[in-house]
Symmetry: C2
Subunit: 338 residues, 2 copies
Amino acid sequence: MAKSYNVAVVGATGIVGEVFLDILEKRPFPLGSLKLLASERSAGRKLRFGEQEIEVEALTPAAFEGCDLAFISATDEISKEYAPIAAKAGAIAIDDSGVWRMDPEVPLVVPEVNAADVEKHKGILAIPNCSTTPVVMTLWPIHQVNRVKRVTAATYQSVSGTGRAAMGELETSTRQAIAGEEVVPSVYPHRVAFNLIPEIGSWKDDDYTSEEWKMVNETRKIMHAPEIRIATTCVRVPVFVSHSAAVHVELENPMSAAEFREVLSKAPGVVVQDDPKSSFYPTPFDAAGKDPVFAGRIRRDLSTENGIVYWVVGDNLRKGAALNALQIAEELIARKLI
Amino acid sequence: MAKSYNVAVVGATGIVGEVFLDILEKRPFPLGSLKLLASERSAGRKLRFGEQEIEVEALTPAAFEGCDLAFISATDEISKEYAPIAAKAGAIAIDDSGVWRMDPEVPLVVPEVNAADVEKHKGILAIPNCSTTPVVMTLWPIHQVNRVKRVTAATYQSVSGTGRAAMGELETSTRQAIAGEEVVPSVYPHRVAFNLIPEIGSWKDDDYTSEEWKMVNETRKIMHAPEIRIATTCVRVPVFVSHSAAVHVELENPMSAAEFREVLSKAPGVVVQDDPKSSFYPTPFDAAGKDPVFAGRIRRDLSTENGIVYWVVGDNLRKGAALNALQIAEELIARKLI
C-alpha cells in the first residue's frame, strides 16, 4: 500500500490556506490525516474539504504531533516561532513567510527551477515571495541557454498578496469611491481603489522596500546566481488576484524574441500567451485561479544589446504560494525524503 | 490695451476639452472670444465657462475664421484634417493628437523643456502624448547636469487617457464585477475592472505598441537627443485619472539619489514627493486635478552603474494634455509670435 502523509495546515482560514485546501483536494496527493490550524479566534470554525467538514484547531506547540508535513502561511511571527517547533516534532515545515527564505540552512525552492535543493533540507523549506516566483520561473529556462546578467522589473501586484482583509478593503473602498463617499484606508497607507501604491512591505536599505529586496535576493538564491544584477519597483494595484510584472532582461549573448518565446514555450509551468495582433497576452483576471505562470509581450529591448522585454502574470495565491508549497511536498515524496 | 486672443476649442465636449475650459477659465489668459467646436452630434449643447453658457458649434472648415488659436483634442482623423485648415485660416493650431508630433515641420513642445522650439512653428504645434510628458519633464533637468544615456519605463496609465467612454467603462464594469455580473468590454479588448491591459494603441514595429513607440520617439525629439536609447511597456490600469511610470535611467556619470532629488526639486513644473518612511510618494489619486508632475521613490539602480530608479505621476488630462497646450499658447504670446 502506498504511503500516505499526515498534513497540518497553519493559517488554514487565511486566503492562502483556503486556496491550499482547494488545490490539495484536487491533486492526487497521498493524504493521510489533515489538521487545520489557525489562531485561537478561528478555532472551532468548520472548513469544508471535499465531502468532509473539518474543525479548525488552535495552533499550539503540541499540534504537530504525528504530522509528516506542516504547511505554514500565516504571519512572519507565527512562522518564526512554529516552523522550528513543527520540525522538532518530526514534521517537515514548508513555509510561506519571509522569515526563513534567506537562511542558509533553509532551501528556497521553486520545483521547476531548483528541485534538487530540497535534498538539503533540515526540517524547514521555504517558498519564495509571490512576486519572485513568476519572474524566476521565466528567467531560469532562459538562463540555461543564455546567461542572465541583469534584470529590472516593475510589478503590478494584487491585493490578495496582502491577505483577506486587503481584498475586503479593495472591495469596500471601491464601493465607497463609486458612491462618492469618503474612502478611509486601514490596511494600506493610501486608498487602493482606483489608485496605485508604490510601497509593499517595509523600508530597507537604499530606500527600496522589503518586497523589492526579496526579488533581488530570492531570485539569486533560487537560481544559484549571486552575480545577477537586479533592481525592481513593486507597486500595489487595484486587482484582486494575480501579480504581474514588466521585465527587462539582459543576456550574455544575442537572442531574438522568437528564440526567447521558443524557450519559454517549452519551460515547465510556463505558458506563453503572445499573439499581440489578437490582443492575446496574459492579464491578471485571466490568470487568476490557474496554475501556470503566463508570459507574453515578448520583444527585443530597443534600449540595449542582448536585451528582451516581456510581461509575466501568475496567480499569487496558487503558484505564488499554495501550489508551490504543495509541489515541494510532492518533490520530497518523489525523492523519498519523507 | 493688452492684446487678447480669439480661441477655438476643437473637441470641446471631450474629457480633455472639459479640463481645458476649466484651466483656461482659471489662468490669467488674455482671452478674446471663445468658440467651442465638436461633432455635429454635440452641436447645440451648452457648456458652462465661468459665468457664461456657450453653445457648442459643429466643426466645419469655416469655423476658424477670426480665430488666433485653435486647440485641437479630438481624434487623429480630425487633427489630420483640421489642423492645416485652422492654420490656413490664420489661427495657430495646437494639437493633442498623434498625427503631427513627429512631423519635422511641427514643433513638439513641453515648455519647461524646449520652449524655444515654438519659434520654428509654421502654423501647427503639437503636444506630446500624455505618458511622455511626465517622463520627459523629469529626464530633462537631469540631462542638463548629467547626460541621459538609456531609459526604460513601465507605465501605469489611467483610462481617461482613452477618453470619456473609457471612464464610463471602468465605472460600469467595476459595478458589474462587484455585483458578480458578467463584464463585457466594449472600449477595451479586455475587461479593465480589477484587471490590467498591457496594450495601448495599435501594434507597430518589433511588437511594441504605438503608445510605447511614442515615448521613444517623442522623448528624443523634445530633448533634441536622438541618441538616447529608450524602451517601454505601456499598461492600462483601473485608475480614472493620472498616468504613472516606474523609470530606470542610466546616466553618463555617477549621481547619487540625493543629487537626483535635488535637481528635480528645482525643476520647473516638477514636485518631489519623496519621504518613504512617511509613505510619502506620488499616487495617481493624489496627483489628479493638479498641475505639476510628481516624482518620488528616487533611489540608485542596484542593477547598474550610474543608474537611478524613480516613480513619476502626472495628471494626464492637465499637464499631459490641456495645460501643456495652453502653456504653449502662453509661450507664443510671451515671445510675441502671435
